[in-house]
């Protein structure tokens, strides 16, 4: 078989891109790719990330309100940056849960699911999407029962912080859900959203990169390697460029 007529349907049997918003259905008709006699090259064969779209893809409205409130306490608005909500962290998590991260398509998910040692890592059967749905439901139920029928978004900032500290410390009884383990997942995903390229919906206007001084996707620092202990002069750029560029027209 020659490669040219069979290349297209064979690429990326194991597409796992963080960019994949909806899980890509693999074409049923795929072939092994045989290459001989030349280096193959085809136009538009690469797979650039897809920009994040507006709207909620995974969270239901009440879940979205809770997540926005949570990320706004994990990363509060202060004189250093906007808060997690305005930075897009909730939107980021939503897109991730709607895609291949949320459905655990790249993980080993075969039974039996047994309880292991700490060195064996997470052994649960639930996907990240299922874990969020169940944990947010359990948190809401817990708070409404103990906090005068209020959900997380209705608590004061101090109450919210105290609840998150208790969750982090494993002090909140959420029944079958391990609150501490869920908190770690939530914190990891929130930080991903805050520090990832803005194309994924978080780190809006590269807010976190500007804050810490990370220049992003510049890719060439040869002119500054030997300038030891001197601040790097240029601000960040992302995969899609820089918002400043569009104001200069």
């Amino acid at each position: 078989m020659s490669d040219s007529d069979r290349l297209a349907p064979t690429r990326r049997r194991f597409l796992t891109s963080a960019a994949a918003l909806t899980f890509v259905t693999i074409a049923s008709q795929t072939y092994a790719q045989s290459i001989s006699g030349k280096l193959p090259w085809h136009p538009f064969a690469g797979e650039p990330p897809q920009p994040s779209l507006a709207g909620w893809f995974f969270f239901k409205p009440h879940e979205a309100r809770a997540i926005e409130a949570i990320v706004d306490r994990l990363i509060p608005a202060d004189d250093l940056s906007v808060g997690g909500k305005d930075a897009g962290c909730a939107a980021y998590i939503d897109r991730q849960l709607a895609g291949s991260f949320g459905n655990a398509s790249r993980l080993y998910m075969k039974a039996p699911f047994l309880h292991g040692t700490p060195t064996q890592g997470y052994q649960g059967e639930a996907t990240p999407a299922m874990r969020y749905r169940a944990a947010l439901g359990a948190i809401d139920e817990h708070l409404r029962r103990t906090k005068n029928n209020r959900g997380f978004a209705q608590l004061s900032a101090d109450e919210q912080d105290q609840f998150l500290k208790d969750l982090e410390a494993g002090k909140v009884d959420l029944g079958e859900i391990d609150g501490k383990v869920f908190f770690n997942l939530l914190l990891q995903n929130t930080m991903e959203g805050f520090f990832a390229d803005p194309i994924y919906g978080g780190n809006r206007d590269m807010v976190s990169w500007k804050m810490i001084g990370f220049p992003g996707a510049r890719y060439d620092y040869r002119d500054h390697v030997s300038k030891h202990n001197q601040p790097y002069p240029n601000g960040p750029v992302s995969i899609t460029g820089s918002p400043e560029w569009s104001h200069k027209g």
Partner: protein
């Protein structure tokens, strides 16, 4: 029922570093070669696209270029009394997949092992007595450093390694590693430009009487044309190296050093998205006749060949041997069997430093741009007064400032909230780390076999890894951590934090993708699965090439030795095996 294909001279399983080197060498010898690779075709222009390669989430966190556990997982436990469970996500180590293998997304530290590493059992027994290694299962490799020198040289010149020789023909050179084995010529390229943190580290180490030198790097310090005529570019210090493909053609890989020539040859074919199920033996069980593979549409094929080269990742080489009944699987109770024996890892520890008054620009970095102190590695110092064997290189090689993963804050800082944010901002530019990369010496209870419960997507048993750090290696690592603390103090930081290595091995946090052994080489078929030419003792038309051949791991990154072993095996096949195909090159 598998569809049978026309016979080839050679079938190679896996088209990474070793598969590409062997394919190039054997097609040059006139053989008809097919490489079967379970991952996709990948090349720089299409897949390591400069427009979107600098994407930490996609490539470093979600690990788009890596083997995913859904495709093949590995089960693990710390000792035989536990039940192994699958690593549902890879963490401690991250195997590659696809054309180029893990050589696509490595950092590029390119070492030679010491002369003593190849004859470790003999060397340690002679110097310290057999008692000192009684708890370990260290072995000789059946080859000497001198036999490997030419192969190391060829791999370094293939890659365009940037470095400074420390020992030219026995003459110690200023600025290089004075502890290395003798090399016949300089590195092909001079060392990289040095960033600030390794520069300070080297000054501090020197002030203590140590011998820092630039880490030998496969990130190129200058443009280079390799012996195959393939041109490469200068590294841009972009800070997106390990876990990423290089968009600049400046990190050595099969893509940047071999494939542009190999792929043009009419006697070579790469078959991608095709996973080898097993090697098929003839009825005697002493000769391989073909491999069976399944393509991505689920169609099963049988590819007959005169010889089979296992060039997958070392762990997968060992598993394929087990699945194909090549050799006998190791049993830790009896000590018998060789396949899966002497699985080793890497014994690492860290040191994080915080300053008030310095700006390290951590994002200006390359995978292998840094400084190494080798004074406490291997047997470079007298182990008479200490209670362990082995050692560690101390490396200051800041590879990146990518902020999902790199956000150093002092211990005690909250993980979220305004206080966390302030500490993150305050320390991002003002902190760096160095680390020890320690030897991992074989022990009787550390091994690989097949899992009795968990299966892959084809229903084949997963590889089962039983491993914990031997006590010897923990004592070694703690001792080296104390030496690191002396360097940390000499740097006079505001604060330093020593991250010591302790039991038990944890499969979750990333440590190192330096998994070695499982199909080890040696002179004795009772303690090795392949002979000194990497030829199976049991099935002589099968060669098994990779870090699977290491009898134990040194305190150094394995790729330089893996590449050298590929040239070493290629020479043996071209110059010896092909004269009398099917015959063992070493009599058992």
């Amino acid at each position: 029922m598998a569809r049978k294909l026309p016979r080839k001279d050679v079938v190679i399983v896996g088209l990474g570093w070793t598969g590409a080197i062997l394919a190039h060498e054997l097609t040059d010898a006139g053989l008809d070669v097919v490489a079967i690779e379970r991952g996709p075709w990948r090349d720089t222009a299409t897949d390591f696209n400069i427009g979107y390669m600098p994407d930490e989430l996609r490539y470093a966190v979600r690990r788009d270029l890596f083997l995913q556990p859904a495709q093949e997982a590995i089960t693990m436990r710390n000792n035989v009394s536990e039940t192994a469970l699958p690593m549902r996500d890879y963490g401690s180590f991250l195997p590659g997949t696809g054309v180029g293998g893990a050589g696509v997304h490595w950092n590029g530290h390119t070492w030679r092992f010491d002369p003593a590493d190849f004859q470790l059992k003999t060397h340690l027994t002679e110097r310290y007595g057999a008692e000192r290694i009684a708890d370990l299962q260290v072995e000789d490799w059946g080859v000497t450093y001198d036999e490997m020198e030419n192969a190391y040289d060829r791999f370094e010149y293939l890659c365009g390694i940037s470095g400074k020789a420390g020992n030219l023909g026995g003459n110690i050179q200023d600025g290089g590693n004075p502890f290395e084995g003798a090399r016949k010529r300089e590195y092909p390229l001079p060392p990289m430009k040095m960033t600030y943190a390794p520069t300070l580290f080297a000054q501090a180490a020197k002030s203590l009487g140590l011998h820092p030198f630039p880490t030998p790097s496969a990130n190129l310090s200058k443009p280079y044309v390799n012996p195959l005529g393939i041109g490469m570019g200068e590294c841009t210090y972009c800070g997106f190296c390990e876990r990423f493909g290089c968009a600049n053609y400046s990190k050595s890989s099969a893509q940047t050093t071999i494939l542009p020539v190999l792929m043009r040859k009419s006697n070579f074919e790469a078959r991608c998205n095709s996973e080898v199920m097993q090697v098929n033996l003839d009825p005697s069980g002493k000769m391989a006749k073909s491999v069976t593979y399944v393509d991505s549409s689920g169609v099963e094929w049988e590819q007959p060949a005169e010889m089979v080269l296992l060039c997958a990742y070392g762990l997968h080489n060992a598993r394929l041997m087990m699945l194909s009944n090549i050799g006998k699987i190791y049993d830790p109770q009896t000590g018998e069997g060789t396949v899966g024996r002497n699985y080793c890892y890497q014994t690492n520890a860290g040191m994080q430093l915080f300053f008030d008054d310095k700006n390290f620009n951590p994002f200006i970095a390359a995978g292998a741009c840094g400084q190494t102190v080798d004074d406490f590695n291997g047997d470079h110092f007298d182990h008479g007064p200490v209670d362990f064997v082995g050692g560690a290189g101390i490396n200051c090689i800041p590879t990146n400032g990518r902020p999902i993963g790199f956000r150093p804050v002092p211990p005690g800082t909250p993980r979220w909230g305004s206080e966390w944010k302030k500490a993150t901002k305050d320390n991002y530019l003002k902190s760096f780390a160095f680390s020890s990369q320690g030897s991992s010496y074989a022990a009787r209870g550390n091994y690989l076999d097949l899992d009795p419960t968990y299966k892959d997507r084809f229903g084949r048993p997963l590889l089962r890894m039983t491993f914990d750090f031997p006590d010897n290696d923990i004592r070694m690592s703690h001792w080296v951590s104390d030496r690191m603390e002396e360097i940390a103090k000499a740097l006079n930081p505001k604060k330093y934090v020593s991250g010591k290595r302790n039991k038990s091995w944890n499969s979750v946090p990333y440590q190192s993708t330096h998994n070695t052994g499982g199909a080890t080489m040696g002179a004795n078929p009772k303690t090795s699965a392949v002979n000194k030419y990497l030829q199976s003792w049991d099935v002589p038309n099968v060669f098994v090439i990779g870090a699977s051949a290491f009898q134990q791991n040194a305190g150094k990154n394995p790729t330089g030795t893996v590449g050298a072993l590929a040239f070493h095996a290629a020479d043996a096949i071209r110059n010896q095996y092909l004269r009398n195909p099917g015959a063992p090159l070493v009599q058992a």
